[in-house]
Subunit: 346 residues, 2 copies
């Protein structure tokens, strides 16, 4: 672990370490020849300064932290890509941690970031931190962090910091309205995790679109819960077996969508004939296989990049008011939303 240090270089070059430091950082006066001599020695020894010592001395870290719920999920790995490209380009070091959507691991991740004294954090929270207790805890932890934080994708209400979010409400609204315009009246919603604020926003978007278009909200058409793919699967099957069932669904997230698709497949039901739908976010491989699935698209990599830019901007201007960037998802209709009138049988 012993690598050459600034002292070694100084000694070898016959100068003081301050001079070497000046050469490294290119600031302060240093004569042409001294500089050349020092550079030669550094070259010869493959010298590279230590970020650790440098940060400690400068009292300023060059690392940016990123916390995401999971890395093995196309949405988050696209966010990660956006963040990573930006940090690489701007000479920052990226420290990554995942929370697995668990509050405790989220706390651990936050602690790790503080421990490492990251200069700033791009943060996709594991949950909402909504109730007073959780919120206070989170606010305290973020303040302890010692650097700015940009909240990404999942809002934490009342928190006064920069964030990059999606307009889940209007996305859901547009998706639902697309189904209505296609001719559907009986529209269900597979709402995903309504524990999450973003889940509730999407649900609200659906509800408003329905009522504002004069359609009734049929309670049994609302599939909600904290659910995953399995649960969505079971509940879709139950729903499609019931005598009165929707002709279309707004599906608020990927996992539910996969559960839905599996259910449809296993029941030998056709899309959009037996049930039409519009989803949220592209499914992995959806474009590859050119599946005619309609959904709300977001430029996910860009979201990550934007968040990082916001963070870096705050490094420069610590005083500016918190910025809330809200991106509106774009609706892409590819056929799965179509209304196919049922033959007499029904």
């Amino acid at each position: 672990m012993k690598s050459v240090n600034i002292q070694d270089i100084a000694r070898e070059a016959g100068v003081g370490k301050a001079t070497v430091s000046r050469v490294i950082n290119g600031k302060g006066y240093v004569s042409r020849e001294t500089s050349a001599k020092v550079k030669a020695v550094m070259e010869r020894y493959h010298y590279q300064p230590s970020a650790l010592a440098r940060s400690l001395s400068r009292q300023e870290r060059d690392a940016i932290g990123l916390i995401i719920p999971e890395a093995n999920n196309p949405f988050f790995s696209s966010l990660l890509t956006g963040v990573s490209e930006m940090t690489d380009k701007c000479g920052y070091t990226l420290i990554l941690r995942t929370s697995g959507n668990e509050k405790e691991r989220d706390y651990k991740a936050l602690e790790a970031m503080r421990y490492q004294r990251v200069k700033g954090l791009v943060y996709v929270p594991a949950c909402n931190y909504e109730n007073e207790r959780d919120f206070a805890e989170m606010a305290s932890r973020l303040s302890d962090l010692g650097g700015p934080c940009v909240v990404l994708d999942r809002p934490i209400h009342r928190l006064d910091c920069d964030c990059v979010l999606s307009d889940n409400f209007s996305g859901a609204y547009a998706a639902t309205e697309a189904l209505i315009h296609a001719g559907h009246r009986e529209i269900g919603v597979i709402a995903g995790n309504v524990q999450l604020i973003i889940g509730r926003e999407r649900l609200e978007g659906y509800r408003n679109a329905m009522t504002q278009n004069g359609l009734a909200l049929h309670p049994s058409f609302l599939l909600t819960g904290t659910f995953d793919q399995e649960e969505a699967y079971r509940r879709v099957i139950a729903m499609m077996r019931s005598p009165r069932r929707p002709t279309a669904f707004f599906i608020a997230n990927n996992r539910s969508e996969i559960g839905f698709l599996n259910a449809m497949r296993d029941m030998k039901l056709k899309i959009p004939d037996d049930a039409a739908f519009v989803g949220f976010d592209e499914l992995p491989g959806q474009l590859v296989f050119e599946l005619p699935i309609s959904c709300l698209d977001r430029e996910v990599i860009l979201l990550g990049a934007k968040a990082t830019q916001l963070l870096m901007r705050r490094f420069d201007e610590p005083g500016r008011p918190a910025e809330k960037l809200v991106i509106v998802p774009r609706l892409s209709l590819r056929g799965s939303e179509r209304y196919v009138p049922q033959p007499a049988a029904r």
Copy 2:
């Protein structure tokens, strides 16, 4: 950026910093009451030691580096997941960098890791570093790193270090043989990037399977290059238009496979009727959509986890001989390999 430090705690608790340090690290003698007092003060101030200072003093970093070609690719993000879970669990900090498959960025990433004085590195190289010059350069850079390195997925020949690789040769061999056993005689290969060693190994697996089964290698059935999805697309179309064409393909990687699938779709050709195939690695979404695509499966997350374990093991036993872990991909046949005799027309 000024957070409370060990000195503040010591002062507040009315003890020396050495004592605080002992309390933090739980080693060395310290009386029950002193310990309690110090802990109380630490608690009150939300004190957390600085990893920077600690590493500098201990001369031992707690960070592990990971370099991958791209984050936004299901294969690499699964590797990342494996590495990340392991580092999180074992209390290491993960520093991530991507190379974009470019040598220069790969070098930059290596430099960044050294700059950060990572304790060790999990490394998926951007390219082969095969020729004498590149190899020497790489060996030198890895040695400068100052810590052990585990090479993951893409071998660097002659490099004496731990690695976790796949048996590309026998995977390709098995895939090709599956096509042969299914009844195919005219089998083409879409070899992907044969600049990469892993690309060549797969090509060789195909070749050996063919010749050892008494089948001739038809040169025009070999689609090779450094190619991406677009190029694969064009070349598959050209091939399928020619009078003599294969009835099946071994497709050596994901991108080529997507190009192939797009070509088949646009030419309105059916799988496996017009062309059967076996691919390498699952396509994103393949299982979701339950597509009957046959391919070689690898437990990718496990590869990342294994590599990290190997790295940590080397921390403990620096002297042990380099370990080469070679995982044999498992062949999953799901239908796309079937042989469908052509009607008279052909």
